[in-house]
């Protein structure tokens, strides 16, 4: 616990540099990656990350230093070249886009590994540490690195913020943006440039291989929570930042743990949780929705049974025993009991000794369900010309789905009928 405090006090300059640097680069990658995600260019980021390797190797061979600015220039050039190559191959040849991406990724990465191996065997003494770009090594970050990263991060955020409107329309509908006279070529180049930049600074801590995760997963997680691009960008940056911070925390607490993979692990966990728990778009909320629907269907079917048995006795709110109800409609016992409990809680059913009867608001609800069922039967027989024996099963599920707006339309189209096709009366509210 003391270690955690020591980490968050940021008194250790190494901790300060590493954690700040990681947070900055994770946030930049997340924001830029959101546009790659929305443009369905997830793998392009992966290809660029791999393609940066030869640039770094060549920059080192030519300059003999590991100065981050020099190496980043090399990274930029080869990343840019890879982007151009992918676009050129897709446009000018018959190869599909995914082939172009795979081709560029493997060719550039192959060259990168080759050069890296050459450097390692050349024994120039200064070469150690270059292989950190393969798998990332945040702990090796220097103050100079941190400065470079923060400048780049600020630059990226400024670009995205000021071009927000243009990036939005370009990502959604590039043809429309072009016809509107917006400079789409320039927008594309700027977006490519910031993507390459974000990747170039990101690979230092997570490495070439895991970079795509840092680019795309924050966006995927953020998308689960929101349908607004603005909020999505903020959330993606937050998720990226938190992952960066926890990655450096974990490797601080246990120095044997690598930062990059832990950033990606944290990200993956956040993403999985988001995909499952997010409201509306999450898997859990879909499950709950399905459950609510099946409960609603059961409730309404039970109301129909009450209505039917009551009407048969010429009384609208007669007390009925559980056996009478169960004889009418086969529903398994526990579901039946649960439905009764729910209806009582809504005050649609009232207990009358051992028996149950509809309350006045329950009656209104029961009438609504029966009315929708019979209206839909009417619609099926009139508009779809279904035979009489086909009508009932087809209407059976619809009564639970028809909304008040649809009901109004249905009533208008059928001109307020009084009887259904089986000559049963259609119950109106009053």
């Amino acid at each position: 616990m003391n270690d955690v405090w020591a980490f968050f006090s940021f008194s250790d300059p190494t901790v300060r540099i590493v954690s700040l640097g990681t947070v900055f680069l994770a946030m930049s990658a997340s924001v830029v990656g959101t546009f790659a995600f929305l443009r369905k260019r997830a793998l392009v980021g992966d290809a660029i990350a791999h393609a940066i390797l030869p640039g770094i190797a060549i920059a080192f061979m030519l300059s003999g230093t590991k100065n981050p600015v020099v190496l980043m220039m090399g990274a930029l050039i080869s990343g840019w070249l890879a982007t151009w190559a992918m676009e050129y191959i897709t446009e000018k040849t018959k190869l599909s886009n995914d082939t172009a991406v795979a081709l560029v990724l493997s060719v550039f990465f192959g060259i990168g590994i080759m050069l890296l191996t050459h450097i390692q065997h050349s024994g120039s003494g200064n070469q150690s540490g270059l292989d950190q770009y393969l798998f990332g090594k945040a702990a090796g970050m220097t103050e100079q690195d941190l400065w470079t990263y923060s400048v780049v991060a600020v630059l990226l955020l400024t670009v995205v913020l000021s071009l927000y409107k243009e990036l939005k329309v370009y990502s959604f509908n590039p043809d429309f943006a072009a016809v509107s006279g917006l400079p789409v070529k320039a927008i594309r180049r700027i977006l490519n440039l910031v993507t390459v930049l974000a990747i170039a600074i990101g690979i230092q801590s997570v490495g070439v291989v895991l970079m795509a995760a840092l680019l795309i997963t924050p966006a995927a997680a953020a998308r689960a929570w929101t349908s607004s691009l603005k909020i999505m960008l903020i959330l993606a940056a937050l998720i990226g930042g938190i992952s960066g911070l926890s990655g450096s925390l974990i490797s601080y607490l246990s120095p044997a743990m690598p930062t990059g993979p832990w950033i990606v692990m944290t990200l993956s966990i956040i993403t999985l949780l988001s995909l499952f728990f997010a409201p509306k778009r999450g898997a859990l909320s879909r499950l709950l929705k399905q459950r609510r629907h099946s409960q609603k269907i059961l409730n309404e079917n039970l109301l129909k049974v009450f209505y039917k048995l009551s009407v048969e006795r010429k009384l609208e709110q007669v007390g009925l025993s559980v056996d009478q109800l169960q004889a009418e409609r086969a529903i398994n016992k526990s579901d039946f009991a649960a439905a009764i409990r729910r209806l009582k809680r809504k005050n649609w059913l009232l207990a009358e000794g051992e028996k149950l009867k509809l309350s006045s608001i329950g009656l209104v609800e029961a009438k609504r369900v029966v009315r929708l069922h019979r209206l839909w039967e009417m619609y099926l027989s009139q508009r779809l010309n279904l035979k009489e024996d086909h009508i009932h099963p087809n209407a059976e599920s619809m009564e639970h789905i028809i909304s008040p707006e649809l009901e109004a339309l249905l009533l208008k189209e059928l001109d307020f009928p009084t009887q259904d096709p089986h000559n049963s009366p259609i119950p109106y509210a009053n």
């Binding site: 409107k165 243009e166 509107s180």
Partner: protein
């Protein structure tokens, strides 16, 4: 004003993935009409539209809008792409999509003005979608999506509207609403060109027609174009020789035009 030429397509030849799909298309469209671009599948309707908007490069020929190059009159032109051409799962609201109609080279890097926002609201009102302004676009029906696209186009306040299949997959109410909007635009003197594949409704919808099947069959007032001779020519099978030649060009990578072929540029007649 009434008979000003809104659009001139001059000897346009264009290919899609190296396969020529339009041969020597040449016609003029007067302003103030509701014009259907008709033809069977693969007859080059969308390619023609994309060429008019300079979204692809022609092999030869040129397009003039109000007698000028597209770049000089962009703000007078509005485009409604096919509904399926975008991802409706994109995180945006109805309002945000319609606001895109106000994004202009003139307000690059700047926020929209309140006058822009008013225009967006007016456009939403016209298509009956103002009540849905804050709805996520992923929650819309096909007809509503099309209305949003039309509203975005209306917000551009253009003089020529180019629409790619706006009637596909929409409900009857939307179809009617769109049609009356478009007729309204025509009555204001605007020119509306619509790529349309359904012959049945075409005669009722449009007052001018461009009949296409890789070459131009006919262009003119619907009474002149919509007759059995022209329709049979357009829909009665492709020109075999022409399409065979096209296949060879695509396969062997022949250039469609020799380098000194002229008419890539032109002054236009207006």
């Amino acid at each position: 004003m009434e008979n000003q030429t809104a659009l001139e397509v001059h000897n346009l030849t264009a290919s899609y993935q190296r396969k020529p799909v339009l041969w020597e298309i040449d016609f003029k469209v007067p302003s103030g009409h509701l014009i259907g671009i008709l033809g069977p599948n693969g007859s080059g309707k969308t390619t023609l539209l994309r060429n008019i908007m300079n979204l692809m490069e022609a092999d030869s020929g040129y397009v003039k809008i109000f007698g000028k190059d597209l770049d000089e009159v962009r703000s007078r032109l509005s485009y409604v792409p096919q509904r399926e051409s975008v991802d409706w799962n994109f995180p945006a609201s109805v309002r945000e999509v319609v606001e895109m109609g106000r994004y202009r080279p003139g307000n690059l890097l700047r926020r929209l003005k309140s006058s822009d926002k008013q225009k967006v609201k007016a456009a939403l009102e016209k298509v009956g979608m103002l009540a849905y302004a804050d709805r996520q676009i992923s929650e819309l029906s096909g007809g509503q999506q099309q209305r949003v696209f039309i509203a975005r186009s209306l917000a551009q306040e253009a003089d020529i509207y180019l629409m790619d299949e706006p009637f596909v997959g929409v409900d009857a109410a939307t179809e009617e609403a769109i049609l009356s909007l478009l007729s309204g635009l025509r009555d204001e003197g605007k020119t509306v060109l619509i790529v349309h594949h359904d012959l049945q409704s075409a005669y009722q919808y449009f007052d001018w027609m461009i009949l296409l099947n890789t070459r131009l069959i006919a262009a003119g007032p619907k009474e002149e174009v919509f007759n059995s001779t022209y329709l049979r020519e357009a829909y009665g099978g492709k020109l075999n020789l022409l399409s065979k030649l096209g296949e060879i060009i695509a396969r062997e990578q022949f250039p469609l035009r020799e380098p000194d072929f002229k008419e890539k540029e032109g002054s236009g007649d207006e």
